[in-house]
Symmetry: C2
Subunit: 350 residues, 2 copies
């Protein structure tokens, strides 16, 4: 294996079209990031012939054989207890041991979250890790968290998500001074339940890199009103899936409109290049890669149904997290945030 | 005033462009529903000249003067305490006294909810009224509730929303056997917090007109997987606004695509009739009119920023609710639901 500056562990057996999709995705990522090497965990007999198709990738890769896998319908508790030696577990172990700088899997989300949390542990100051993902908006791209790791959250959790989301926006999205908003049912201070109101009071009183915008509502998500949207895992999961579902509905309505008459079809042909740009801009594969933030290691979850291009983008998120030193920045921000929060009389009063 | 079979009370002073928008909206509704008459509550000096423009509407209308109004930023508690004699309060009082069969207002949502609940009271068996609204999906139209009246809900509340939403789908959307889904973060039975899991167990054990589909996720909303989506007011508010916001984002992306080149503009001209059909299908004014379900009276909230066409549609929702005897059906369903629920051993076991 050629010496490389950065190694990514891949769960080669996770995802609907694994391991083909994983190997092809790694090949695309390899072209984008020539100094990245890969550790493939899974069935060597299936992975080796696939790798042999790509000379440069083969040279930058190593296979660690295991015939154990975690199934898509395994419960997180089962996966945690019985998943030792599985492709997912070994890939995460490689991050813990320092052999790999990050791990990407398209396998069982709950299992990945449970194992990653158990093996990698949370960063100092963080009670609960969160799932974060980014998506296209009218203004560019925004990140939202939590997307399902914590169904109900207190003010403290939401504040921690705000700090972590802020780091994600700076390191992966490249936003210099991200604005942070708390998702609520109205923008007035009196709105919402206690957790969001208390979190808003803490965020207002404590300096963050970037700024705290206050409350945002559902329609602010696609509008891109803020760079970071903070919410509990139940609401965030529903909101992101609602956004994705509505985007699909619109694409389908549009397709039907263009097919509704001959003249409309000709109109479509003429507008196609422009519409393709729109399609590329909103391609879900572009936004593939949910990040488990708050862990002592970089762990990225790819959609299970994605293709090689989508998987390559998930690898890209892991590479950005690592090269931009996201974890170090989260550590630093929590240290200074904790100091600031403790000295603030408004917070003590809560 | 000509004898009419059905009278609607209108808060003539609520909404950004009131009272003009209210009077014009009533005129559009009057053409659609010739046997409806209107009671306008508000400033007679402003309403009368507007009404004089429309002969047929004038004949079917009566003005009840008041110069008191509830402001858009009044707190619900203030509106309840100090709002006596206001256009909104008097319009709701008219429903309570039986003078009007329903009330429509584009004014302050929180105030309308608080006053309507206080004056009209809830129907037997219903602990908390909910806000419901319908929207376009890939399959047709669906209704979602609650949209913000109750930020957190227990299983009992969610079950009651399911029964009320079911009646709404039958009476206003005309769906014979509506399917009902509980919004959750996954479709498996083990997913979600206690309230949704408990509500699912109760709904499974109790016969409803139509059927209980189980859990649905955010992307099922626009897909139209079920006719009725049941959730707490926090999640529902965020989800519906996310859906609306994403629809706007898409329309804007599309507009930009068509303007991006000369050829694309020509394509747009050819496809315009088809795209207009899409625009009409997803026009928010078509879906204007949120219903306060569970009250002993029909109360409909119009968007404050809507125009006459949107307001006419909100009146249409009230008329449908009344002529289809929605409240009687909710009463009946609660009576039979309560009987069924009590006899079910699975529910007793919860």
């Amino acid at each position: 294996m050629k010496a490389a500056s950065l190694s990514i562990a891949l769960d080669a057996m996770g995802g609907d079209r694994a391991p083909e999709m994983v190997v092809k995705g790694a090949n695309i990522a390899r072209q984008r990031f020539p100094n990245v090497s890969f550790l493939f965990f899974g069935d060597e007999q299936r992975i080796a012939p696939l790798l042999d198709r790509y000379g440069a990738l083969r040279k930058a890769s190593e296979i660690r054989h295991t015939d154990r896998i975690i199934a898509a319908d395994d419960k997180p508790s089962t996966a945690l207890r019985a998943g030792r030696g599985s492709s997912m577990r070994l890939a995460i172990d490689a991050v813990q041991s320092g052999e790999a700088a990050g791990i990407v899997s398209a396998g069982n989300t709950g299992a990945l979250m449970a194992i990653a949390k158990f093996v990698l542990r949370t960063l100092p100051g963080i009670d609960r890790p969160a799932i974060a993902s980014f998506f296209p908006t009218l203004r560019g791209e925004s990140v939202m968290l939590d997307l399902g790791a914590n169904l109900s959250c207190d003010a403290e959790n939401l504040v921690q998500f705000a700090v972590m989301g802020n780091v994600f926006a700076r390191t992966v999205l490249g936003t210099l001074k991200p604005t942070v908003g708390l998702l609520n049912v109205g923008s007035e201070e009196v709105k919402g339940h206690e957790a969001v109101r208390e979190a808003a009071a803490i965020l207002k009183a404590t300096p963050l890199p970037g700024s705290f915008h206050g409350f945002v509502e559902g329609d602010d998500i696609a509008r891109g009103t803020v760079d970071v949207i903070v919410t509990d895992g139940f609401t965030g999961n529903v909101a992101l899936k609602t956004l994705e579902g509505t985007a699909k509905l619109y694409a389908e309505f549009l397709r039907r409109s263009f097919k509704s008459s001959m003249v409309a079809s000709v109109g479509y042909l003429l507008a196609r290049p422009a519409l393709n740009a729109l399609r590329v801009r909103t391609d879900p594969r572009r936004y593939n890669g949910a990040i488990f933030l708050g862990l002592n290691g970089v762990a990225v979850k790819s959609h299970g149904g994605t293709d090689a291009l989508g998987f390559a983008n998930a690898i890209g998120v892991a590479v950005d997290m690592i090269t931009q030193k996201s974890l170090e920045k989260i550590r630093e921000d929590f240290a200074s945030f904790a100091a600031g929060a403790l000295s603030s009389p408004q917070v003590v009063a809560l």
